[in-house]
Symmetry: none
DNA sequence: CTCCGGCCTCACGTCGCGTGAGGGTCAAGC
DNA sequence: GCTTGACCCTCACGCGACGTGAGGCCGGAG
């Protein structure tokens, strides 16, 4: 029968032996039994329980409360999982608010605006999940403002469009050719194709220094929408292109 | 000249008086001065510092480390904000991993599948906050943005992508809302939405300075593959977004 | 039979405060 | 001028969730 010693379980779960001892002491997680020598023996049930414990701990619950939650027999395991998901969602939402506050702070900083003391701290004030409903109302309330659409046309004409499309296709063809030929991302052909790509952008859209080109390359693998377009041309192309762009950027900067 | 007593500052920041006393004791946040009677007097500088402290504390940093971080004069306030955003992103990512693990557990449960012990705990293994100094050095020591992005995106999981997709949707919703409401590209709403878009990229992919953002905006109208995604959301959105991005970039640089 | 790694039980230390105890301060109202 | 009540001060001990040894007992490999 599978059983674990403290050390084994600790390693598995990424906690210390002392932590397991502590959980035993406070009755949060007692071993299923002991060997004659007094060694703690944990088995699968305890392993599962420990997993649950760590979930709730990660979410900041005190051990005593965790014990209460887990020992509540009226809550099914599935229900636990649902709860955990919700709690994680709450926590993420709070962090996103924090991120938004940081964003505001940056904005205020670059604009030289002074935030009021209240504004500076309001994000810390919201305790856990108090006003979910108010927030939702506020968020959806704005929806009323969705009224009419009025399109502003792009500054590009259809002719420009056609030309750019043709050029883009040509550049992409070159990329695909080099890629499918098995050229390494740091091979001359790959770097040349990347440079062509850079030139295409610089010619048609905006100045694209190697450094900026790198960012673009990263975005091709990082932003799924863009990744998709390249992966459609050839599976693996997005990552390869990024590497090629980087190699080329390095080369360009060597001078 | 505005000054706060402990109680006032405590109420503002949503912490207890004792906490402020403690921060004074350990030298993390000392009042600007004292009254004759020995009352602590805090002013705006301390208020700002407290805000920073709470940010880092929220992210789980020990007080001593927070002091070290904040007292590092080689880090500009703007840099702090960037770091904080990074850290929040990390934290969110970790929680998403947790959520994914919960998801897997639910799935396994309904399917009656047994997960291996390793699978059960692997999500707890990554000590996201492990070693600030080393990581910070690795992450920010090299100013090249691409290394960040590479390190960041290579660790993305499916859950991350789901989150990013959700975030992207939210950002796009905001854009569509402003656009269909008839807001001009250089209206505050449009620029705010554009800034949100920029923040989204910065949080998830790589640092996206206004100049870089301009490039992206141009590409949205210039490259049909990317244009399509926006035109699908609302006809005319791509061009409008480009203009909004430019207007916002101009605004951001005005300082 | 002896190592060496792992296990055991105390038991004290740490971090970030909470929670009084005992006492001074200050603006308001009687 | 005096009281009242809210607020401030400084100790100082307590607590949760472990960390960190100290000192000693298994158990399998050589």
């Amino acid at each position: 029968m599978s059983g674990y010693t403290v050390g084994q379980l600790a390693r598995l779960a990424g906690v210390t032996v002392r932590t397991l001892h502590h959980y035993d002491e406070v009755g949060l997680l007692s071993p299923g039994g002991r060997t004659r020598a007094g060694y703690r023996r944990y088995d699968d049930a305890e392993l599962d329980r420990l997993q649950q414990i760590l979930f709730y701990r990660e979410l900041g619950f005190p051990l005593e409360e965790i014990a209460a939650i887990l020992d509540d027999r009226s809550v099914s395991p599935t229900e636990h999982l649902r709860r955990q998901r919700e709690l994680i969602g709450d926590r993420i939402r709070k962090l996103e608010d924090l991120a938004a506050a940081v964003e505001r702070a940056m904005e205020a900083r670059t604009l030289g605006i002074q935030l009021t003391p209240e504004e500076k701290f309001e994000v810390f004030g919201k305790d856990y999940q108090e006003n979910w409903e108010d927030e939702a109302e506020q968020r959806w309330g704005d929806t009323d403002a969705w009224k009419q659409s009025q399109a502003k046309t792009s500054t590009y004409t259809k002719a420009d469009w056609e030309r750019i499309k043709a050029e883009t296709d040509a550049v992409n063809d070159a990329l695909v050719a080099a890629f499918t030929a098995g050229a390494a991302p740091d091979s001359p052909e790959a770097m040349d194709a990347a440079e062509q790509h850079r030139g295409h952008i610089g010619l048609n859209f905006y100045e694209c220094a190697p450094q900026m080109h790198r960012c673009l390359g990263d975005m091709y693998v990082a932003d799924e929408r863009f990744t998709a377009t390249y992966e459609q041309l050839a599976p693996g192309l997005a990552g390869w292109l990024r590497d090629a762009i980087h190699a080329n950027a390095d080369r360009q900067e060597q001078s």
